[in-house]
């Protein structure tokens, strides 16, 4: 049985169980993100920055199987637009399933959670269109009314129309959250990913002289999203990320998180840095 078939069956199982639970929780999400290297390009001369705008919604059903175990099933849909590079405009539709096990009673009991997700993305630049499977195993612990920590291990597999977008990686992350009050939350986290990462190279102008490590390139394909002479490729790399987020609660079900994230991706011969600043609005109906 193919992995994708097994996933669809697993998610359908989550859905069948969870849909019987009753009313779903509907959430809406919108964000504006600025990034200084949307091109994920090692050549500093060729790098381009851009803004991304995202609107998404999700519907989540939850059923409590026992005191400690709950099953979750969610469907997601969203639109993302990039006015500078409209090839990045995309529609995303996905489904997620999760099992959550709380190890004890009360808010300070640790929580173990396993998530499976399957998402389809349709880009204007069709070579990027594809599906993504991700699995996350997380352990969260609230230490007191202020502090909470979350550790997670994750796996991601992306299948694109173009082979350049066939890649997979795995990672470990740690996030600490501090609630100053019911209104303000500060969070900071780090993540390391191993496996393939997407790179882009501009082989015109300065790119003709940039010391790319062509021997390490995998699945190269021309990509017109950023203009002529741009190429997409994947490379076996390590990605280190760090982020800080300040979230303001606008009532019991709405928050306004401001997030700064920096990612360093490096291979033996090539590396790039990407910084992202995003402001989001999250509302749970």
């Amino acid at each position: 049985m193919k992995l994708s078939h097994a996933l669809v069956i697993a998610l359908a199982g989550f859905g069948a169980i969870s849909l019987s639970a009753g009313d779903p929780v509907i959430s809406a999400f919108t964000s504006a993100t600025w990034t200084d290297n949307i091109t994920r390009c090692p050549d500093p001369v060729a790098r381009k920055n851009a803004a991304l705008y995202d609107v998404a919604g999700s519907t989540e059903w939850r059923t409590q199987a026992s005191r400690d175990v709950s099953l979750h099933f969610a469907t997601d849909a969203g639109l993302e637009a990039c006015p500078e590079f409209d090839g990045l405009n995309r529609l995303q539709v996905g489904a997620r399933g999760a099992v959550r096990r709380k190890l004890g009673l009360g808010p300070y009991a640790p929580v173990l959670r396993a998530d499976l997700g399957y998402t389809g993305s349709w880009y204007k630049e069709s070579s990027r269109t594809g599906t993504r499977f991700n699995a996350v195993l997380s352990w969260s612990q609230r230490w007191n009314d202020n502090w909470q920590t979350i550790m997670a291990g994750e796996y991601m597999h992306n299948d694109g129309h173009s082979p350049a977008y066939d890649y997979q990686n795995r990672g470990l992350s740690f996030e600490a959250r501090y609630d100053f009050s019911a209104r303000w939350q500060l969070a900071a986290g780090v993540r390391r990913q191993w496996g393939d990462q997407i790179f882009y190279a501009w082989l015109g102008g300065s790119g003709a002289f940039f010391p790319y490590d062509y021997d390490q390139w995998k699945n190269t394909a021309e990509d017109t999203t950023f203009g002529k002479n741009w190429y997409a490729y994947s490379m076996d790399s390590t990605a280190n990320s760090g982020w800080v987020s300040l979230s303001c609660a606008l009532g019991a079900n709405t928050s306004l998180p401001l997030r700064w994230e920096e990612v360093h991706v490096f291979n033996y011969g090539e590396s790039y840095r990407c910084r992202m600043l995003s402001l989001s609005l999250v509302h749970r109906f």
């Binding site: 639970a21 009753g22 009313d23 959430s27 999400f29 993100t33 939850r62 409590q64 026992s66 005191r67 400690d68 709950s70 709380k102 009673l105 009360g106 808010p107 009991a109 993504r132 609230r142 009314d145 202020n146 959250r177 609630d179 009050s181 019911a182 209104r183 939350q185 969070a187 990605a239 990320s241 987020s245 979230s247 609660a249 606008l250 009532g251 019991a252 079900n253 709405t254 928050s255 998180p257 997030r259 994230e261 990612v263 990407c274 992202m276 995003s278 989001s280 999250v282 509302h283 749970r284």
Partner: protein
């Protein structure tokens, strides 16, 4: 805290000699800015005579609505029964880990209701094991003379039979209860004002967090 309250308590004690009362209204305000304090439980325990026999209280209700407990603070007399109706569309799992009454009401659905008898005095914190932000307090009192402050910070105790009483004021955000002795005499009424220093409201955040980038 005690130092802050001392002048006020002294002033109040001095006044109790002339203020022998049977109808007591209490007004509670914050020490910091004088704002009214809601949800403070005021109780009076007789010091020199036995408690009068009282009929059992009718069942009290703490509902779950919009994934919160309502009311936030409930005062009741020892032996009272509390019903916990679920008026939400989701399941709840109520528990208390507090010494005076440990209990668990396993998963129950919308429309269902469970009840618990509170047979020991004390402060009981209740939560929901599914929705960690849900929090409420039950103050179980050994006396029928109690009241809870409203939004204006005011609470009126039931008429007190003559005698000496220990007046106690408890609030979830006060470090310690305020305690003062009062004397009750027939056909006297008084309003006693108290100020209390409140700690920050440390409830677990309910609002959703942001989502990660899909880098």
């Amino acid at each position: 805290m005690r130092q802050l309250l001392l002048p006020f308590i002294v002033a109040s004690l001095l006044s109790t000699a002339a203020l022998a009362v049977d109808t007591v209204k209490v007004v509670v305000r914050t020490t910091l800015d004088g704002k009214p304090v809601a949800d403070a439980v005021v109780s009076a325990v007789p010091l020199d005579h036995a408690l009068p026999p009282t009929a059992p209280e009718a069942a009290i209700e703490i509902e779950q609505k919009d994934q919160e407990f309502r009311p936030y603070v409930t005062a009741l007399q020892v032996g009272a029964t509390v019903n916990f109706p679920n008026h939400d569309t989701v399941q709840h799992h109520i528990y208390s880990l507090s010494k005076p009454k440990r209990f668990e009401i396993p998963l129950y659905k919308s429309g269902a209701s469970e009840s618990v008898v509170f047979d020991q005095p004390g402060i009981i914190t209740i939560g929901c094991n599914i929705h960690d932000w849900m929090l409420a307090y039950i103050v179980v009192l050994p006396t029928p003379f109690f009241a809870k402050t409203d939004a204006t910070g005011a609470a009126a105790l039931p008429p007190l039979p003559p005698g000496r009483y220990r007046l106690e004021i408890w609030h979830p955000r006060a470090a310690t209860p305020l305690i003062q002795e009062i004397v009750s005499a027939p056909e006297k009424a008084a309003t006693l004002e108290f100020s209390v220093a409140l700690k920050p409201d440390k409830r677990i955040r309910r609002a959703p967090s942001g989502k990660a980038t899909d880098y």
